[in-house]
Symmetry: C2
Subunit: 148 residues, 2 copies
DNA sequence: TCCAGTGTTTGATAACAACCAAACAGGCGG
DNA sequence: CCGCCTGTTTGGTTGTTATCAAACACTGGA
């Protein structure tokens, strides 16, 4: 019902916070960590955890609802929609490739050798990897704020 | 004098355009593709190439000048400053790691296996790699607009 | 019934990003 | 001197992002 989530909000990135929230919830749906019926953090709870204004969360949730990803239920909370449209295979690949490209561009411009890039990517994956595994255990929400 | 540059502006990223321009010029300086004295595209030229408003380029250049990275010379153009402060090793690593982390977060949330991630990164690096090599040849500026 | 938690709504403020138009001014070569 | 390139400056408009404050309304359990 309440899988363990990690929302990484990078304020320095320049990407609107509400968009980062939207994207990552969609990624969780795509990865099936969040499934139809699952409850997600309440507006005030998420706002408090991320130290942002509640209206910012409202914006993200409202937009996600407009896209059919979630449902907001007055007095009850917010949930993954029964027929939440998941990202297609192509869209997932696109999202991944966009980030990979951004990385590649920077690395190329700074003349960072490929092996070094790969190493860093592996390190960052490892740093996040151990988190998943026990998806059955109903845990409280863990929201990560961070950037670096 | 005028090395071949590739500025990748991703409008969908949410990152302000003027900031993307600033960052990437700094990366080129860090990678020594751009060296002190090198001329960079004129405001109007870059604006035209990227199809953005000249004032946006002015903003980026003005800020870069404020940071001591470039010098704008009235009537002549813009150049890398004689003592342009390059990113420290740590700052370069941070920048790279920030992008890598973003990639790792997405991959983890979407449950994309590590080998797949590595493959995509290698592909994107390869797609950009062939570009560099002949840094001696004075070529006209090539500015790439793109995102995906 | 009460109450705590939940989503809903409104209006205002502030800062930022980008666009657009137009004019002004320095550098340089023909 | 003229023309064309260059950066400079101004003023305004538009839309977005995020904050803040306050009140209203639904749900469910004690």
């Amino acid at each position: 019902m309440t899988p363990k989530l990690h929302l990484h909000i990078d304020e320095r990135s320049g990407v609107p916070v509400y968009r980062q929230m939207m994207d990552q919830i969609k990624y969780y749906v795509a990865g099936a960590t969040l499934r139809p019926g699952d409850q997600i953090p309440s507006i005030r709870e998420l706002a408090a955890a991320l130290a942002v204004n509640p209206t910012t969360v409202v914006k993200a949730y409202t937009e996600l609802e407009r896209e059919g990803v979630i449902e907001k239920r007055h007095g009850k909370g917010a949930f993954i929609a029964p027929e939440a449209p998941s990202l297609t295979q192509a869209e997932q690949e696109d999202a991944l490739r966009r980030s990979a490209k951004q990385l590649a561009v920077e690395a190329t411009q700074m003349h960072v050798p490929t092996p070094k890039v790969i190493t860093v990517v592996r390190e960052e994956l490892s740093a996040l990897g151990p988190v998943r595994g026990d998806e059955s255990e109903p845990v409280k929400f863990a929201v990560m704020v961070g950037g670096h």
